[in-house]
């Protein structure tokens, strides 16, 4: 169809060559400009800065981790040509939104998810394989290894840590003093935890020794599993296909909580607690010592409570934590993979981790930066960072259906173990959970 005159192709190709050279020059200039403005140290963004080409990226996250995501997005947008547009969804319905959009092949460029759902999302193929990109990061070995593991399948990495939330013990120093306990000596074993809680509950009135989420599978796994791990036990095999919840360590841990409730040391509201009023309970200042998410520290302090943080111990000692939070990945439907990765890799870089996250008191994913100046200023944060290395992130493909969903066998097991016959509930739970883990 071309009716070009013989001499035109030559001119056209000359023009094309000029454009190509100019484009390359512009790109080179942009990339060097990007490099110098976004790096504060050599191990920053990790190389793919030519991907900062002014793309408009869409990102979804759930409300629970909104403040961290928002801070990161804001800081990134301020210093880059790419602009990330963030939409936050209500927590409970966020998985529904992801599933619906996946079903319609309409996912955003980047989306986050609760870390325990990551294996399932990876198996459904919702995120892109970013293994080669991740390998280019100089600090890749220092990025919360337990979380990377949940987002890995067949040696390929599909998502990276985004926001961290660990389980710890919160204790009310004022109540401790009133009960005659030393506020500088939190429990080092779970047995001690029970004794101290009982002492506080003797204060009577509206004061209760402890609190837990007795109607919430997710709450219990988050706060009780670390004790089992600290005692050297396991709740599942590594592949997440076999439950070992009837192990002696688990029985011992559940027995302690069971007896605390039966004795009235644990608040009666614990039986109904499905997670929604958990924070409210801790914020009343009437609870002596209770486990909770590390991200609540500023929220509890904001109510004027003099709160101390301690690692969750096992029955006989040791420490551990549930390394939870959110991961973020590039959607498989995204056409801006390079730019999206530019954002994600930046969030793992020094500047983002220290100057954005650590500065606002958040726990960071980079284990090599745990001793940053902001963390060191708050002894509670130091405690949390130190226990992170001893914690675990459990892995299972059918995690949500087996543990977190209200209709899961875990919910039934937990209620039986905490309010009924502990050993029997855990024994029957073991088989129900195992079959659910393998269901497909």
């Amino acid at each position: 169809m071309s009716t070009a005159m013989p001499h035109q192709p030559a001119r056209r190709s000359a023009r094309r060559a000029v454009f190509a050279v100019l484009a390359a020059a512009v790109l080179a200039a942009a990339s060097t400009a990007g490099c110098s403005s976004s790096s504060k140290s050599p191990s920053a963004a990790g190389g793919a800065t030519s991907a900062d080409d002014g793309a408009q990226l869409t990102m979804w996250t759930r409300a629970a981790t909104e403040s961290q995501t928002e801070a990161l997005v804001k800081a990134y947008n301020a210093g880059h040509k790419n602009q990330v547009k963030l939409t936050t969804y209500p927590n409970e319905q966020y998985p529904d939104k992801i599933a619906t959009s996946a079903g319609a092949h309409a996912l955003p460029d980047i989306f986050t998810s609760d870390v325990v759902f990551a294996p399932n999302y990876v198996s459904q193929g919702l995120w892109q394989d970013v293994t080669s990109r991740f390998d280019q990061l100089s600090f890749k070995g220092d990025v919360a290894p337990s979380i990377i593991k949940t987002a890995t399948a067949d040696g390929k990495v599909y998502a990276v840590p985004h926001a961290l939330d660990l389980s710890v013990l919160y204790y009310n120093k004022a109540l401790y003093t009133r009960a005659g306990l030393d506020p500088a000596k939190p429990p080092t074993t779970l047995a001690e935890f029970a004794t101290q809680a009982t002492a506080v509950s003797k204060l009577g009135g509206s004061v209760k020794g402890t609190y837990f989420g007795g109607n919430c599978g997710g709450c219990v796994e988050f706060t009780l599993w670390p004790s089992i791990w600290a005692d050297g036990g396991a709740v599942m095999n590594d592949a997440g296909t076999q439950s070992t919840i009837d192990s002696p360590q688990a029985v011992a841990v559940f027995k302690i909580y069971h007896d605390l409730y039966a004795a009235g040391v644990a608040a009666p509201a614990s039986k109904d607690e499905n997670g929604t009023t958990w924070l409210g309970a801790l914020q009343t200042g009437n609870i002596g010592i209770a486990p909770g998410p590390s991200s609540w520290l500023p929220l509890i302090k904001a109510k004027g409570i003099d709160v101390g943080v301690a690692p969750i111990p096992g029955v006989n000692g040791g420490q551990s934590t549930f390394v939870g939070g959110d991961v973020a990945g590039v959607s498989v439907t995204s056409s801006h993979a390079a730019e999206a990765w530019d954002f994600l890799s930046w969030t793992l870089g020094d500047q983002a981790q220290v100057e954005v996250l650590a500065k606002s008191g958040e726990i960071i994913a980079r284990t090599d930066l745990a001793q940053n100046k902001y963390a060191a200023a708050d002894p509670n944060v130091v405690t949390i960072n130190q226990v992170m290395g001893k914690g675990q992130t459990p892995y299972a493909l059918n995690f949500n259906a087996t543990y977190n969903d209200p209709q899961s066998p875990w919910t039934t097991t937990v209620r039986g173990a905490l309010f009924g016959d502990t050993a029997a509930a855990l024994a029957s739970g073991q088989s129900a959970i195992t079959s659910s883990l393998n269901q497909h």
Partner: protein
């Protein structure tokens, strides 16, 4: 006038009443179709079309992202193996009976109380109706807080009034308290709503009928049975159909308030569907259960409608 030119040749000669009647009937039919056209358009585009897709999904193994593969009738036969579903069906049926009886009685009672103009009746109607101003998911959360032992006022208030001696675990103490809390939530939220619908039906009954009946010496119960209820049949039909269908498809109140517990004793059918779709990512299975439920409900409502309509004709 416009239809006279469209008559069949065989009827042209007959100039007796039969022809005008035919004309009027056909014109009215055409007009009826015209007025019903927007409804038909919305229903076909936004309901029937997606419904066809749902039925199609139920015949396939439908992964979230990949391509669906035909798999009939696995999704349907699997329903029988689903123990959670069986329990949910029994519970949902029991819940529907309890809820409909309670809600209808309360709504009808309220409507009778506020139907006449009296001092303060505007305030009363507003008080009963106001819960409908709160979205249902939020209302469920509200009740969760209300009944919470930790932050809610109900237990302290009841203890203070001496009605209970220790805090009651309303939400997960036992299947009965869980059911009771849910019934209370739904009644609070929907009684005023249904009261209003019943009110429009009540107020369409001419006052003269009541006056005549009273002058004949009829007492309140007789008036209710002989005049009010029969004349309100269409309204009652509407309200009952909505209540029964709504209860059979209940979801939010269980998901948010009781979590389907304790021990799955308050798990409803739609909760099972949502779990299949959004937790187990088995869209085909969720679609199959939905189609089955739809089939049952259509049959049920056809029966209900014909019973209620027949008696009013």
């Amino acid at each position: 006038m416009s239809l006279s030119t469209l008559k069949e040749p065989s009827a042209v000669e007959d100039a007796r009443p039969r022809r005008p009647l035919l004309t009027i009937r056909r014109r009215r039919a055409a007009q009826g179709l015209g007025y019903a056209a927007p409804t038909a358009a919305v229903v076909s585009v936004f309901f029937l079309a997606p419904l066809v897709l749902v039925v199609w999904m139920s015949l396939n193994h439908w992964p979230l992202l990949g391509n669906p593969t035909l798999s009939f009738p696995t999704n349907y036969t699997d329903i029988g193996d689903n123990t959670l579903f069986r329990g949910a069906v029994w519970f949902t049926l029991r819940y529907t009976v309890v809820m409909t009886v309670v809600l209808f009685s309360v709504a009808f009672g309220l409507a009778l109380l506020v139907q006449n103009r009296r001092r303060g009746v505007g305030f009363l109607r507003t008080a009963f109706f106001l819960p409908a101003a709160v979205g249902f998911a939020t209302a469920s959360l509200l009740f969760l807080g209300l009944l919470s032992n930790e932050i809610g006022p109900v237990n302290p208030l009841l203890t203070h009034l001496g009605i209970i001696s220790r805090p009651v675990s309303w939400i997960s103490g036992s299947p009965n308290t869980a059911l009771g809390s849910t019934v209370a939530l739904v009644t609070w939220r929907f009684a005023g709503f249904n009261m209003l619908i019943l009110l429009t039906g009540l107020q369409a009954i001419p006052v003269e009928l009541y006056e005549a009946a009273r002058m004949d010496g009829a007492n309140r119960v007789q008036i209710l049975r002989r005049i009010t209820v029969p004349l309100m049949r269409p309204t009652i039909a509407l309200v009952l159909i909505m209540m029964i269908t709504g209860s059979l498809l209940a979801f939010d109140q269980f998901y948010i308030l009781t979590g389907g517990g304790p021990d799955n004793s308050t798990t409803s059918v739609v909760m099972v569907i949502v779990r299949e779709a959004f937790v187990r990512f088995n869209l085909g299975s969720a679609a199959a259960i939905s189609v089955a439920v739809l089939g049952v409900l259509v049959a049920l409502n056809v029966v209900q409608l014909s019973i209620l309509r027949r008696r009013s004709r």
